[in-house]
């Protein structure tokens, strides 16, 4: 999308709503997947793909494109929905998610899916790879930005902090980490499993410029990502406080929906709820 595009929160909200429906249907269809974290992440992903990032869907390998690394790779359905909507591949491909031979693997695969900038799925690795991409961009003197989205549970991985340290050391101010801080992980609430707070202080102590926002407020996302364009030698972390399962009353803040697919019937009810019919 063009960076010159006028910021339009209502348009982005409408796109995100449509992508939420697509995510739910895709996961129900596949019979497995991670709906909760896909729904918490989709507003930020929508903002990036439909307002912020310089990309060319018809030329996914364009060297100057902005990169997006979904380090919390299990939320691939959110990325796939955005990529299809942006025109990287046909919408119908989404119905093949997790099927034998599908370009849409359970976790993002840069060799199989047009638009996927890095293969991810083993938590922490994608973020470290993103630091490598940002370093490569700097070395080549290219002006692209690298956005990496991490989960809050993912911040428990040691390699996240190894990479955070290296990014600050190498002054990767072209790297923007966004923590989708939805408060839940597979076994329960993050605060009970292994608390990550105070998370802003951690990133700051590692040499990052940090902001904390409501990750479902497009105005706040816009402001934070805009601020993160500044290149003053420090990498940028945005802690996006989100709601797991955002948009569906039954799913919101319920760790049960971390890795549980909705049934076909549930999917239709959820789609109707998202469409506003049950409000």
């Amino acid at each position: 999308m063009s960076p010159a595009l006028q910021f339009d929160a209502a348009r982005l909200a409408a796109t995100a709503r449509a992508l939420r429906v697509r995510i739910i249907r895709m996961i129900a269809n596949a019979g497995s997947g991670h709906p909760g974290g896909s729904l918490s992440a989709i507003d930020v992903i929508t903002y990036l793909y439909f307002h912020r990032m310089r990309t060319r869907p018809a030329e996914p390998g364009w060297k100057d494109r902005d990169r997006f690394v979904l380090s919390k790779g299990h939320c691939a359905p959110a990325l796939y929905a955005a990529l299809a909507c942006a025109g990287y591949f046909p919408d119908a491909t989404l119905d093949t998610l997790r099927e034998i031979g599908s370009p849409l693997q359970g976790h993002p695969d840069m060799r199989k899916t047009p638009g996927v900038d890095m293969t991810t799925g083993s938590l922490g690795q994608g973020f470290a790879c993103a630091a490598g991409i940002a370093l490569g961009g700097k070395l080549q003197g290219r002006d692209f930005r690298t956005y990496a989205m991490l989960g809050d549970g993912e911040c428990q991985e040691g390699v996240v902090w190894e990479a955070a340290m290296a990014a600050a050391h190498y002054r990767l101010d072209n790297l923007i980490a966004i923590v989708d801080n939805n408060g839940c992980q597979t076994d329960g609430y993050t605060r009970d499993i292994l608390a990550i707070e105070p998370i802003c202080e951690k990133w700051r102590a590692f040499g990052w410029q940090v902001s904390r926002i409501n990750g479902h407020d497009f105005g706040a996302i816009h402001k934070a990502v805009e601020r993160a364009q500044v290149r003053d030698g420090r990498p940028h972390a945005i802690i996006a406080d989100t709601v797991k399962g955002k948009g569906l009353r039954a799913m919101e803040n319920n760790p049960k929906w971390h890795g549980l697919p909705p049934t076909a019937e549930e999917a239709e009810l959820f789609a109707a709820e998202l469409a506003g019919e049950l409000r």
Partner: protein, 318 residues
């Protein structure tokens, strides 16, 4: 002219040679540049050298990211850390997406001596060999080390290369043809075949001389590529000579010996004896040659294994 030196030194030299020719070559290091010899590249090309600190998993993942932007990263650390601490990064972020990263693991095997079991990587060939898409190299001498480094740089795709710590004699003529995946025949013989890798190739050559004095003529193959393994050379050895002895400074489980046994069992059943670390954690030693002897990683044990192999194969025949 190439002279005897640790293979890791030749690696460092060749990196500089590559750096002169190709601006895409970048080097990542995890705080042991003097040991891995990447300091040579660091001196010449400081702007293309990245010290990642004591963080091997991050190093290999950042190398993957650099490869994704078009660079040709060489990432080095000790064999134990490369193959185990950073293993999953190599698997998932490099081998699976077929990124053009070259992992060079130095100070492999028992021969590092003094540091003991924590630093004696004897599992890496088995582990790396089990990862799809990864080519696994283990050259024996400075000539083949140089050729292996050049081959890695010009071949797109993920590589893992293992190098020892100690000085390595020159075993190959500089013009010897070197091809990834093809063993080099260093000596011809019809009675038994010795297939060795890394520092054990020199031991195998010594063993072949001893065997010759005992009227046993050994073929000696330098297996510098553990994966893809040279099936044709192994099958030919099985068919044309009486038995096979493998030799590696590595656990006998899953490395060169394992790879050869797989091929032999499927294509040409033959007696195989494996010389290697006997599935134990080794330990420290002040003198590495004595330590290698202590763990039976020497020419004497290769000779013994060859004679046992021939004896048992005659027993099978009669």
């Amino acid at each position: 002219m190439i002279v005897a030196q640790p293979n890791r030194e030749m690696y460092g030299r060749t990196l500089v040679e590559l750096g002169e020719q190709d601006a895409r070559i970048v080097v990542l290091e995890a705080d042991i540049a003097k040991s891995t010899n990447t300091f040579q590249f660091q001196r010449r090309f400081p702007e293309r050298f990245f010290e990642i600190g004591v963080a091997e998993m991050n190093m290999v993942c950042m190398a993957a990211g650099l490869a994704a932007t078009g660079f040709v990263p060489f990432a080095s650390t000790f064999c134990v850390f490369a193959s185990m601490r950073a293993c999953e990064g190599i698997r998932t972020s490099i081998a699976y997406p077929k990124l053009n990263v070259k992992i060079v693991a130095t100070n492999a095997g028992v021969e590092i001596a003094g540091d003991g079991a924590t630093h004696q990587g004897i599992e890496d060939l088995a582990i790396m060999r089990a990862i799809p898409n990864l080519t696994v190299l283990s050259p024996s001498d400075p000539v083949t080390t140089r050729r292996a480094v050049l081959a890695m740089a010009r071949t797109e795709g993920p590589f893992y290369m293992r190098l020892g710590r100690q000085a390595a004699k020159v075993l190959h003529a500089e013009e010897t043809p070197f091809e990834v995946g093809r063993m080099i025949r260093l000596r011809e013989g019809r009675d038994v075949t010795l297939i060795a890798t890394g520092n054990m190739v020199e031991q195998a050559l010594t063993a072949a001389e001893i065997l010759s004095s005992l009227k046993v003529e050994a073929r000696v193959l330098d297996c510098h590529t553990i994966k893809p393994i040279d099936v044709a050379a192994i099958v030919a050895a099985a068919r044309e000579t009486g038995a096979i002895v493998t030799a590696e400074d590595h656990n006998i489980v899953g490395g060169l010996g394992g790879a050869v046994c797989e091929v032999v069992a499927e294509h040409a059943p033959t007696i195989v004896r494996r010389v290697g670390v006997a599935d134990v954690f080794p330990g420290s030693g002040r003198d590495y040659r004595r330590l290698l002897e202590h763990y039976d990683l020497d020419a004497a044990n290769i000779v013994l294994s060859a004679r046992e192999a021939l004896h048992s194969c005659h027993a099978v025949v009669s």
